[in-house]
């Protein structure tokens, strides 16, 4: 009898422990998505089309979420400065088109051309973040914003000539959205595409992400990668074992910035358009909240967090409008997205264990 009580108590305790470790908001979000998937067939939404959409959006965004990992590992916090990397990606994209590359080649060249910008900007950004340890996240946000606003001026002034990109009438100044038709529109998605009935899997894009994710995983298990984790989890210990903290942090920022640049290019090939000017402004927040939904915290993140988080976040973003619309004829998806993503970031920022670093 008493034993019975003891076991039942420990079971409920264990359950509570499991919920606590998984995180209540995460549980709610996963439950909500599951509910959406279950309801989808009942309200007359094609289940497989929905899965296809979710997978598509997953493949567009996953690389940008992956970009969060290195900086979280090195203790720089969540990279709210993602727009800086996105801006270098945009420079690569526009230059690749300007130089006349087409098809799959334009995608490769966009990555190649974006790399030097990402590295140089990442170095500067990393140097700045080393001078302000402890206040990274706030400053990162504003570095991202300033970079986007500065690039708005440059998009107007840079001497781009390609008629596919500049305003038709003035003949100068880039358009706000540039179609990628004939360039790298869906190059990855159409490569190795798998079709099973209504279900379409963008194999190439997912493979591309998997390669990058594997490279990241492998890197984190090298000597430098382990050093990076050490810097993030215990800087004093890292310094004592002879690791150059500032150098490792800069490396992580450069990696994050480069991944953001590649991430936006992958996003563009799926979406089919290059979006300039103010478009990159709020792109950091979805990526940040996605990795947090996946179970990452301000100073801990894994590849699994990236995969789960991106799937959950993009699942909600794609499923809510269709399911809700056919159910109550009311599109509240935008509001739900804002509340969910920012609520998740707030939850991560206010966790006690991480408040003291």
């Amino acid at each position: 009898m008493s034993e019975n009580v003891w076991t039942s108590k420990s079971l409920s305790d264990r359950l509570r422990g499991a919920v606590a470790s998984f995180g209540l908001p995460r549980l709610i979000i996963a439950g909500f998505l599951l509910l959406l998937f279950i309801m989808a067939p009942f309200v007359g939404v094609n289940f497989f089309t929905q899965i296809t959409n979710t997978l598509n959006r997953f493949s567009w965004n996953a690389v940008m979420v992956l970009a969060m990992v290195p900086m979280v590992h090195s203790g720089c916090g969540l990279n709210f400065g993602l727009p800086l990397g996105i801006v270098s990606g945009l420079l690569g994209a526009t230059m690749s088109i300007e130089f006349g590359f087409t098809g799959a080649m334009s995608f490769v060249m966009a990555i190649v051309l974006a790399t030097p910008f990402a590295v140089v900007l990442g170095l500067g950004y990393g140097w700045l973040l080393n001078r302000i340890k402890g206040g990274e996240m706030m400053i990162a946000t504003y570095v991202g914003f300033s970079a986007v606003a500065f690039m708005c001026i440059l998009w107007l002034l840079l001497p781009f000539k390609s008629p596919n990109m500049v305003w038709g009438l003035a003949g100068k100044g880039l358009r706000t959205t540039i179609s990628l038709e004939g360039y790298y529109d869906k190059v990855l998605a159409n490569f190795l595409q798998v079709r099973i009935g209504d279900l379409v899997i963008p194999g190439g894009t997912i493979l591309f992400f998997a390669l990058l994710a594997f490279a990241m995983w492998a890197f984190l298990h090298t000597k430098t990668g382990t050093a990076m984790t050490a810097v993030g989890s215990n800087p004093t210990f890292a310094r004592a074992s002879g690791i150059n903290i500032d150098k490792i942090r800069i490396l992580s920022v450069v990696m994050s910035t480069w991944l953001a640049a590649v991430g936006i290019l992958v996003y563009q090939q799926g979406f089919g358009f290059v979006q300039l000017y103010m478009a990159p402004f709020y792109m950091a927040l979805p990526a940040v909240s996605a990795i947090l939904i996946g179970g990452a915290t301000v100073n801990k993140a894994s590849i699994t967090n990236v995969v789960i988080g991106t799937f959950l976040f993009q699942g909600i973003v794609t499923m809510t409008p269709t399911v809700m619309n056919s159910m109550i004829h009311m599109d509240m998806s935008e509001v739900i997205r804002i509340i969910v993503s920012n609520g998740m970031i707030l939850y991560a920022l206010t966790r006690k264990s991480e408040a003291i670093r």
């Binding site: 340890k133 206040g135 400053i139 946000t141 606003a149 001026i153 107007l156 100044g173 707030l346 206010t350």
Partner: protein, 375 residues
């Protein structure tokens, strides 16, 4: 020898003065370049600045108290702005116009602001040491809730009578709500004209009153507690100050003031952009305060007035000057957005480096003392 020392210290003092005030000096230079290029008349500029001063100063003053309590720049002032907007939408629907409408909106905004301020203060207490980024995310989060209320609940759950402010589908508020019958009712009462420059005396009196209240508040017990908390939370706690409560109160006061400020701002504008009025207001107010020479841990009323005039001077002349130089008005437009964000970035970086330098010099001092003790 001593004179040499003195000149050196004078030079150092000048250098420090320039460094401490680098942001205002930079802005004066930008304005000095842009004003002749833009080619506006002095009267026009003065008129514009006075209008914008009346419009924005109250909002910016709401930022001072959390800075005093050591909570940094309160990006959560947007919460107050949203409370003010909801109050104005309701009074507009009840057709209460003119000064009674403004006063009623202010009264209505108080419970909303207090509630939101309590929430924000509680959340910030859970995130000590990273208040700014948290308050910034809180403002986005509450923006989602605001949209939920205004776009879906108003008209369906909260009764809205007039179709002029309701969306055609029957619920939700239109993108703009006209406040035509309330427009500048406070500014125009007792307004005087001095050589073509309109001075909204009553608005300035309200602002002056708030300044006096803030000066008085600093001397009260609560104000002293806040300064103690801002200096060092642990010392304040040992001295018997309820740190958490004091911090929450400072955020609540700031939110309520921001709500009043937003109502004053919107009565001057004459309409509400329901979904965008508040989104930028926090950023512009904070940028203006920083332009005036304030930092994350120190801000005075003087900073507010200097900041509001310099920042808005730049705001008026930059697009015109940009159009003159490059022939494209959008460049000036983007330039001022860039400068606003850039100023905040620079100020935040300066604050963090100063904090680190202070910590390092404290460490060195301790080391020296230890060495002295060893000898």
């Amino acid at each position: 020898m001593s004179t040499k020392n003195q000149t050196a210290s004078f030079g150092a003092k000048l250098g420090r003065l320039a460094r401490d005030n680098s942001v205002p000096i930079m802005f004066i230079l930008i304005c000095a370049v842009c004003i002749p290029l833009a080619g506006f008349s002095g009267g026009y500029l003065l008129n514009e600045i006075i209008t914008r001063m009346g419009r924005n100063t109250f909002l910016i003053l709401s930022l001072l108290i959390p800075i005093m309590a050591g909570m940094g720049l309160n990006f959560g002032m947007t919460l107050g702005a949203m409370a003010g907007e909801i109050a104005l939408i309701l009074t507009a629907d009840w057709q209460i116009w003119g000064i009674p409408g403004v006063v009623l909106s202010m009264i209505l905004s108080i419970p909303l602001s207090v509630g939101l301020g309590l929430l924000c203060g509680k959340i910030l207490n859970m995130a000590k040491g990273r208040e700014m980024v948290t308050s910034y995310i809180v403002s986005y989060f509450i923006n989602g809730v605001y949209q939920l209320v205004v776009l879906y609940m108003m008209g369906s759950i909260i009764p809205i009578a007039h179709s002029s402010i309701k969306l055609p589908r029957g619920y939700g508020i239109r993108n703009t709500v006209s406040l035509l019958n309330m427009r500048q009712c406070i500014d125009n009462l007792w307004a005087i004209r001095v050589g073509g420059v309109k001075i909204p005396v009553l608005t300035f009196l309200i602002i002056a009153l708030l300044c006096l209240v803030i000066l008085w508040f600093r001397k009260t017990k609560l104000g002293q507690d806040m300064r103690a908390v801002g200096q060092d939370m642990n010392v304040a706690r040992d001295a018997g100050v309820d740190v958490e409560r004091t911090r929450i109160i400072s955020i609540v006061i700031s939110t309520v003031l921001a709500g009043f400020g937003m109502i004053l701002y919107l009565q001057n504008m004459g309409n509400i952009s329901t979904y965008s009025s508040h989104s930028q207001i926090g950023m512009f107010c904070i940028a203006a305060l920083l332009v005036g020479g304030a930092s994350v841990d120190k801000a005075s009323i003087g900073n507010v007035f200097l900041g509001v005039s310099l920042f808005h001077l730049m705001f008026i002349v930059a697009p015109a000057a940009g159009a003159k130089i490059t022939g494209d008005s959008m460049i000036g437009e983007y330039f001022r957005v860039f400068v606003s964000y850039g100023v905040i970035t620079v100020a935040l970086v300066m604050y963090e480096t100063k904090k680190r330098r202070a910590k390092a010099s404290l460490g060195r001092q301790l080391e020296l003392e230890q060495k002295g003790a060893d000898k």
